[in-house]
Symmetry: D2
Subunit: 373 residues, 4 copies
């Protein structure tokens, strides 16, 4: 009668850890899951801090050694919410211990890491998940449904930008996200990976890319009176061929003053177009090219009705959900798939394919020419 | 073979005179009219100024006595673009001389004036026009078409606001538009009359109103170091019953800081809704309630395609027109109707009906109760 | 060392009960509260349903008799989330039992009920809260801050509309919200009360109102093949004088096709204007009239930065929150005030003042004239 | 006392000829020019059609041989509004005859043509103009002023798209704009040239580009039951380095369903950002990064006030102008410069520099690598 329980241990508890914790707490409140979720252990290096985090975020207990979490036989799922340079080791260890791996994106700091991670997960025979959460916004899921059903016709264009501005100030100090050793790449991997995932999800695989990356500010205050070298990109622009004859144009930047979280895409198909912007994530713009000309126009659909993906699990039409709900939806899908022995999506293979594109953009930027995926 | 010619004499040459002159010059360039238009005489009191205006605005000649213009046998149409306190006398004289009267709005400063004006025009048997130009924006004409065809279903709500802010500064000086003797009323007659016209045009006649008017700043600099009394309203708000069971809500203000020309209405019908805003006058928002819920949303129609009213006379789809074009469209309709012996719309009877509503709002404000029209 | 605990019993568990439960669960996760919150008992009439609700919504236990909940000495707070016709009896009983009353809006079905409720609460000497949650949206709180600081100057206009469309279809069946006996009034009390609260909160008390109410569809399917009489308003429109010389215009309707949750207001002050729309509740539009004209315009502020009210408790700038968070913020304020012996806001006195305005609009509609508050 | 007269002969009278004619007629009505403009001759190959065009568009007379127009000693200015394949010969002949050349864009069908045209114009010592009219929209001129004054700080990003959809339908027939022989290139030259001009004007010269072009539909109905080969691009995407360290991203397409005239750019500087969209051409979005965070947001400036470039020549604030007015403004600037012996802008040198970028994008697309300008 009672549901099976999936027990989670989470490594890391900063921004992503907070978002994941919230989703674990909330997912069963809004979705009728085939399992119960137990938030057993959160793990971090500093005991006092992780203890407080456990309490604040709703974990039963805490640990300071991630290997101990993996070694815990009660734990089914290892959630990796740490900076990128630690993903690979943790994920492989978790997979080898037979755990289900849930991992932040981009999964590795290099393509080599990503390949080894996927190999370990594949070998384990266990499901996995990668936190490309924006797929799970109701408006994006609606776009996916329409592309898949042919409602938009043949897809000619996919253009996406993920723009932020948090380091546009030259005096913004050095942080781990600006160091290749910890993070792999800059805007490209951090936010460019999200628009790559949306492109893959909505339109199909990349066949070739040609890109450029650029660092506007190469030295930043180190917080101790000196300067430290930035060795990742501040911005990346790339063109692509993807899907079945779609032209792609992409841009990721942390220097777009005024853009806080401007993750936006536009799909132009032969029968219609859609536009999404994360800053108004409950909305999908849609243009229907099959109507009488007189009444054609881009409409703003509030994807908050019971008829829209995920939305019926929350509030009545017109009552919006927030950023954090994309993680709730992602977990709802993941837990459903896992309990029903279906394929999770997105999973670590998606993480790997994503990294292949990131790697190709990087190489293209260096070779100043097109690179096939 | 050659077309008949309609010859115009225009009284007044300020803001409205400039807009009318442009429309007379341009209407034959964009519309295939059944007549030619001759801009013979512009009339003003100051000879040097009116001479310069004639040259600048494209009139053959000028005059300083409006009675001489009316007396000119070559002139068919008297265009009245002067302040409101002079309309009545000029219009009646013109009508009695057998001229076609084209008059700015509101047609009179009082209901009594408007009644006498319409009586004179009706007696003359000549057509007339009133410059309620916003009816003629393509987007408004599209809305009209849809209400008339039943596409929007039964009309439950009409809500309109015309908001400006040009006198919000208490130090803005006294001008003729703030004196009852010259202008009749304030925001109510000046801009409120436009939303009354749109309501009548789109939904139907008013049956009763209940309103309030208010003057925020009762004294203003007189330009000579003193202060002068404002005796017209700065803002007016009114409720109404109109058309066939429609509830109306209206607001006109010159104190809505940030609103420059915010002439906006929303119509809610049982089958759909439309929204218009003059500041984006090429656009009509439309919500179609008959579609599948999943894809419902307010769409922004750019009413610039050949399929839209008037728009095909100008530029290709997506190339917008401006404020002045509403006057061109109004004249195109007026000249067509006149030459084809059809009823002009809007005409001085519309001016009279409009004034009946203005008058009722004024009386309602004083009596603090509902007033039937 | 450990925090005091406030223990809650909630009566009712439908839409509002779900939103309240979520807020009780989440408030301590995002705010550093001076107390802990214990969700002890949820109460409903149908045992199987309330049992399931308790489990789903996170309550320790359940009850089927609200009097038993009030009688529970462990419970500090009675949360009333039931239909309006039951509020009065429960609230008075709770107050008389020395409980803190948290109540949904409008607090009573009549002004008399509201007066008795407030009298009981006042007599109890206990704090109270009313769920006018929209005050607590970060964008609204920002507007409040600016009005209070004088940043917008003298407030000339407050115009608000709360538009929905869920009963625009004549075949939408009879529900309790369409019966005066259960709900007191229709659109007026349900959604009109929200814009009254925002007006009071942002601009000040109402001094007089003049309004109209209307029922478009007077009979609806009763679900058993017959028809049942609607005896509440479908729409209400009213004008008001409020605050310190502000003109108010208000509209609430359930027949505005396409408007799902269009709770919007615009404030025009002498120095600036703000506009809010609940459907984009993370945004506040602001026009600054003190800047150089060249650069003036309505700006869209995303009230999601750490500098904005409440927003720093959630996610980084540009990551939006949803409808439910307004309840979290409301509880955070309420618990803070209660534990620090400060006045809660909004409380049942706000509920009473709100009801005085609702009552005045109703009487004005009947008398067809202005009514003083 | 009387002004000098500049006499114009225009070759071609289709879409562009109509827009130019309107501008010649109107420019003196709205601007106080240092010269009078005489519209003497319009030229086209088909006598009956050009005769009608002369009458409709306001030209004194017509001609069927462009060489005769150039030979007319009364004519000062040759306006070239014909398809691209005829520009070069006409422009060189006009320049050699000592005429002022006003030419549509792109000036030639090849870089070689453009170079020869500019050489001839330069040798003639006469001024020239190219119809990159969008520079002259008030909102764009405001952006230019701010970039030039440093108000936006260092310019990090320029991203532009010019999207249309008029050939997205595979059954849209063959027209001259789809044939390389007549038009040089497709979307790239037709609309891509406009965003190149805006980039050069606003940010500075291009130093290198990397692009792709694509033809989605390679055969179209020839109007006689057969199919004809499209040999120009349907879409072009390119990256660039331009100005003083600015990253550029560009896209031009005729397959962006729903986009009618979506000529849009965004400039991100260190101190602020601006966004423009031709479909709302009276507006400029502006984000000021120097304000307190609390009140930062993208504002919509209606560039219609007397304080905005060009706008004071038309209507009061809030009364929008249309597409055609950009040509009026361009001519006003050109005639002012010519009569005051100042440099015209944009002129045929701008046309040449533009063509160098077009040519580089084309070569880059073929070589699949970066090309320096």
């Amino acid at each position: 009668m009672s549901k099976p329980v999936l027990t989670v241990g989470m490594i890391g508890y900063q921004f992503m850890g907070r978002a994941h914790s919230n989703a674990y707490r909330q997912v069963g409140r809004f979705f009728d899951l085939p399992c119960d979720v137990r938030m057993k252990t959160v793990c971090g290096r500093t005991e006092s801090a992780v203890k407080e985090a456990a309490d604040q975020l709703g974990w039963e207990g805490y640990a300071t050694d991630w290997r101990a979490v993996i070694a815990d036989p009660e734990i089914d799922i290892i959630d990796i919410s740490t900076p990128g340079n630690t993903h690979c080791e943790i994920a492989i260890a978790a997979a080898e211990a037979g755990k289900i791996v849930f991992c932040e994106k981009p999964i590795g700091n290099t393509l080599d890491e990503a390949e080894r991670m996927w190999a370990a997960v594949e070998k384990s025979g266990k499901p996995s998940a990668v936190f490309h959460n924006y797929r799970k916004a109701p408006a994006v899921a609606l776009a996916k449904k329409w592309v898949a059903s042919g409602k938009l016709g043949e897809i000619h264009h996919f253009r996406a930008r993920y723009l932020q501005d948090w380091i546009a100030d030259p005096e913004f100090p050095m942080v781990w996200r600006l160091k290749k050793a910890t993070t792999g790449s800059g805007a490209l991997g951090d936010i460019g990976s999200h628009i790559i995932d949306l492109a893959r999800h909505l339109v199909g695989e990349f066949s070739e890319v040609c890109g450029m990356t650029h660092t506007f500010i190469s030295e930043r205050p180190d917080g101790q009176g000196g300067r430290d070298q930035v060795d990742v990109d501040d911005a990346a622009i790339w063109m692509a061929r993807l899907g079945d004859g779609t032209l792609g144009s992409f841009e990721a930047s942390r220097f777009a003053v005024g853009r806080k979280n401007h993750n936006t895409f536009e799909i132009n198909g032969s029968k219609g177009s859609v536009v999404f912007d994360l800053e108004r994530m409950n909305e999908l713009e849609y243009y229907d090219n099959t109507e009488p000309t007189e009444q054609q126009g881009f409409r703003v659909i509030q994807a908050t009705a019971a008829e829209h993906p995920y939305a019926g699990n929350f509030w009545p039409s017109g009552h919006i959900i927030g950023y954090e709900h994309t993680f709730i939806n992602l977990l709802a899908d993941a837990f459903s798939a896992i309990c029903n022995d279906q394929e999770t999506s997105p999973n670590l293979y998606d993480g790997l394919q994503n990294q292949r594109v990131l790697d190709a953009v990087d190489r293209s930027s260096e070779s100043r020419s097109w690179v096939k995926i």
